[in-house]
């Protein structure tokens, strides 16, 4: 089905209701597999059982960034093609992205307490995730400020794209500013430094979280369309009464 067909909300709703049960089932399966794998994974020789926080922390961080990516693509859809579904996709992704970013911060903080002896250090990665979280909240605030959803979408799209340009710059600056955190270890030249017994559950959890994001995002988009319909119907009703 070409993307333009989905501009019709009824067609999108029909597609969503067909896809959502399968997506939900896949998410549940992936989590069942991932969590059992994570449970069976060996403890770290230094960090003990706390290393298992990683199975929530790393996927949450990945989704915090992925959600901004989804919002940026949707922003292009809004500004370039004026695709009505893009507005809905951008709006639905913002709170989910913010939630995953917050989850990343909270799990990281709980992990930091036993490992670094403190809940918070002004370390490069923590700080840039915190800034990302602030930017999500700014986007959500901007969405809520405007009444007219179409205009809100276009204004937020500009902010999202400016953010997409700035996030790498902020990340680079913050890293330059300070680094205590261990260097990147999952994806890097010369192979991963994580042992396969931990890496495999981690990858499964990342897949499970991504599926969860897709499910939540699709459901949120459906809810947003229904919400707009309810609003229009209420306005029509008020109009008819007057």
């Amino acid at each position: 089905m070409p993307l333009i067909d989905l501009a019709n909300p009824s067609r999108f709703l029909a597609l969503a209701s067909r896809v959502l049960p399968w997506l939900t089932a896949a998410t549940l399966l992936a989590f069942a597999f991932g969590i059992s794998q994570a449970y069976l994974a060996p403890d770290d020789y230094q960090q003990g059982a706390t290393v298992k926080i990683m199975f929530l922390h790393v996927p949450a961080a990945w989704l915090g960034m992925l959600a901004w990516g989804v919002m940026s693509v949707a922003a292009l859809g809004t500004l370039v093609w004026r695709h009505p579904l893009a507005d809905v996709a951008a709006k639905a992704a913002a709170p989910i992205g913010a939630a995953f970013t917050l989850m990343c911060l909270v799990t990281g903080s709980l992990w930091g307490r036993p490992m670094w002896g403190t809940y918070w250090v002004w370390d490069a990665r923590l700080t840039s995730v915190l800034v990302l979280f602030l930017m999500y909240l700014g986007v959500i605030a901007l969405w809520r400020t405007v009444d007219d959803p179409a205009r809100a979408a276009r204004v937020v799209a500009v902010l999202t794209l400016v953010g997409a340009i700035n996030i790498p710059i902020i990340k680079f600056s913050v890293e330059w500013w300070n680094t205590l955190h261990q260097p990147a270890s999952v994806l890097r030249l010369g192979g991963s430094t994580i042992h396969p017994t931990i890496l495999v559950p981690l990858i499964v959890m990342v897949v499970a979280f991504t599926l969860l994001f897709l499910t939540l995002h699709l459901a949120a988009m459906r809810n947003e369309i229904l919400r707009r319909r309810v609003r229009t119907m209420q306005m029509l009703q008020a109009d008819a009464r007057a």
Binding site: L79, L137, G138, A141, V155, V162, S173, W176
Partner: protein, 226 residues
């Protein structure tokens, strides 16, 4: 081409004149800067050694906040008196028009902050070399603050809501400028990083915002006001 140049010059002169003559935009920014710097010793105590150590950071934060509070005047006033509609309809590209406005705004709000910084450095017990470094980094960095702020100002004008929302949207984007501004100042004072490295990045940030700012602001105005 000459028509565009004339229009841009006229817009520039008009904006500069308004900023200087009406409501004292430039002077209030400096006054605010002075007030912030005066407040700091009350919060942390009159310890001159400590003030000297965190002096560059205080000056940078003060300049950042003063710049932020002045952003409200950048486009909102034009919207209130209707001249924004004229600018939107004019034959001059909107990107060029908002860039001109931002340059005028920087000359009347950003530059006075840079000039005031050495004086405020005295209050914070900074030695001449440190003062010079802070002033130089402010000179290189405040254009970035203005042009990033331009985007925020355009976004909030489209919504007819400014104030706190503008601050929430703009401040996270200014973090790199703050980092490299303070880092360059400290590099000049205590080292160990050479001054040129962070200072070069600071200049790069300013140049980049000079390119991105006007385009994003023009898109925000066009999309938000239609």
């Amino acid at each position: 081409m000459t028509g565009t140049l004339t229009a841009v010059t006229a817009l520039f002169i008009r904006d500069a004149r308004i900023a200087i003559r009406i409501g004292g935009g430039a002077m209030i920014g400096v006054l605010f800067f002075l007030t912030v710097v005066t407040l700091v010793p009350f919060a942390i105590g009159p310890d001159l050694a400590l003030l000297r150590r965190i002096g560059p950071a205080i000056l940078w934060l003060g300049a950042l906040l003063a710049n932020l509070l002045a952003l409200d005047r950048l486009i909102t006033m034009d919207q209130e008196d209707g001249s924004l509609d004229l600018i939107l309809m004019a034959r001059v590209p909107l990107e060029l028009a908002v860039a001109t406005k931002a340059v005028a705004h920087w000359l009347t709000t950003g530059l006075p902050l840079v000039l005031a910084a050495p004086l405020l450095g005295l209050l914070l017990n900074l030695d001449p070399q440190a003062t010079g470094a802070v002033a130089l980094t402010l000179l290189a960095g405040t254009p970035a603050l203005t042009f990033i702020g331009l985007i925020g100002a355009a976004l909030t004008v489209a919504l007819r809501r400014g104030g706190l929302l503008l601050a929430v949207l703009v401040l996270p984007l200014t973090i790199p400028v703050l980092i490299f501004g303070v880092a360059a100042s400290n590099a000049a004072i205590v080292g160990p990083v050479p001054f040129a490295a962070p200072f070069g990045v600071l200049c790069a940030l300013s140049l980049m915002s000079l390119v991105v700012g006007p385009f994003a602001a023009a898109v925000a105005l066009r999309q938000g006001l239609e």
